[in-house]
Symmetry: C2
Subunit: 204 residues, 2 copies
DNA sequence: CTATTAATGCGACGGTTGTTGCATTAAGAT
DNA sequence: ATCTTAATGCAACAACCGTCGCATTAATAG
């Protein structure tokens, strides 16, 4: 994959790092002001006090800029909610997702939009979600320890089942945020899980 | 305005209809060949044997073209699968979805990508999905009649729960198509539904 | 048939996007 | 201090996008 991050060991400090910080700050500011549609390389370069050519050479296009922004934001120390029950954890997670997807400026939607146009942004998005779901697996582990779920429950499949409806409504179906949806989706996933839907091998 | 003749009426037959058909065919062909990124008004007009100005005047932009393709696709007489069981219907539906999303060339993915950049395409996509889910409600009605589900089951919520994981993996998570996923997602939804997850009002 | 007029064809324009060749700057090595 | 070279600045360029005014075509009315 093409990495827009600064060269590994050529000149890590100094101007390059400063320019990168200026540009990424400018991207975030432009994104907050004008959204993804209004995010142009020219505006970013101008705000960063950098020439357009520099941006084009180091990041390629808008998708590359967003990929770098989200790579930089990937290490925010996020942790899965811990409410004491499986249903509570999943519901809290879904509320977080709905809040993030409905937040303004719609940075999440911007990354998703960019991921369809730039392989770099698509890969950054894939990494971000992979990381998030991995961090959520502890929710299932705790539930198994509590005896809420049968041992051997597939954490990833349960998590996807619980969260996918929220993403589906907000991203693809584009229905307005439904306050009841996060809890309802969590509830359905818990019922399926306690019925053993995610234990053992997938059905033939 | 100068004559008592009835309000100016369009000319549905003849050249206009022919041009529209030519252009929409060209859009589909260009989409299949170059994907959404390579879809330009110029190429569409050239392939359709039509001048660029005509396309700009009637459709406005690429998003308008895609929206028209969406609308044209809505009248294809699609019907929900009918296999004799709820689980079979949902699994067949999920297999259809996975096949459509994995089809090469990825026209469905191109249409989704377009929906993030054009309000017109987004609205057309929303209408198409609304129509599809409405046509699928008969699956739940049949299952209730068979006694597989409790009366009062919320068809829409069940359908979304069954199908959302497939979309989530293929569109957002971008994992390679999993042959077991359609059946597994259908299975989990059936288990949740038989447990009463979609009967009665949503949880508090 | 002729007249009307909506739809299309045509060429040109300004604006934007992304690229390229070359000059300049500055970080790191000696 | 001096040298080397990667990174940046700069300007010009081609390509594309969308719009406009005007000429031409063709569908429909009378």
């Amino acid at each position: 994959m093409t990495s827009p991050t600064p060269p590994a060991r050529s000149r890590p400090g100094g101007r390059s790092a400063r320019v990168r910080a200026q540009v990424l700050d400018a991207v975030r500011a432009e994104l907050a002001e004008h959204g993804y549609d209004g995010l142009t390389v020219d505006a970013v370069a101008a705000r960063a006090g950098v020439h357009r050519t520099t941006v084009y050479r180091r990041w390629g296009d808008v998708g590359g800029l967003l990929a770098d922004v989200y790579d930089a934001a990937g290490d925010d120390g996020w942790e899965a909610p811990d409410t004491g029950s499986l249903r509570g954890d999943l519901a809290a997670l879904n509320h977080e997702i709905q809040a993030a997807m409905s937040a303004r400026p719609p940075v999440m939607e911007a990354l998703i939009a960019a991921s369809f146009r730039s392989p770099a942004a698509a890969e950054a998005q894939r990494r971000l979600w992979e990381d998030r779901y991995t961090r959520c697996e502890v929710i299932v582990e705790r539930a198994v320890r509590r005896g809420e779920l049968p041992p051997g429950t597939d954490a990833r499949r349960l998590l996807v089942t619980a969260t996918a409806p929220v993403y589906h409504h907000l991203v693809l179906l584009r229905t307005p945020p439904d306050p009841a949806l996060p809890d309802a989706a969590a509830d359905a996933a818990v019922l399926a899980a306690t019925a053993g839907a995610f234990a053992g091998p997938p059905p033939a």
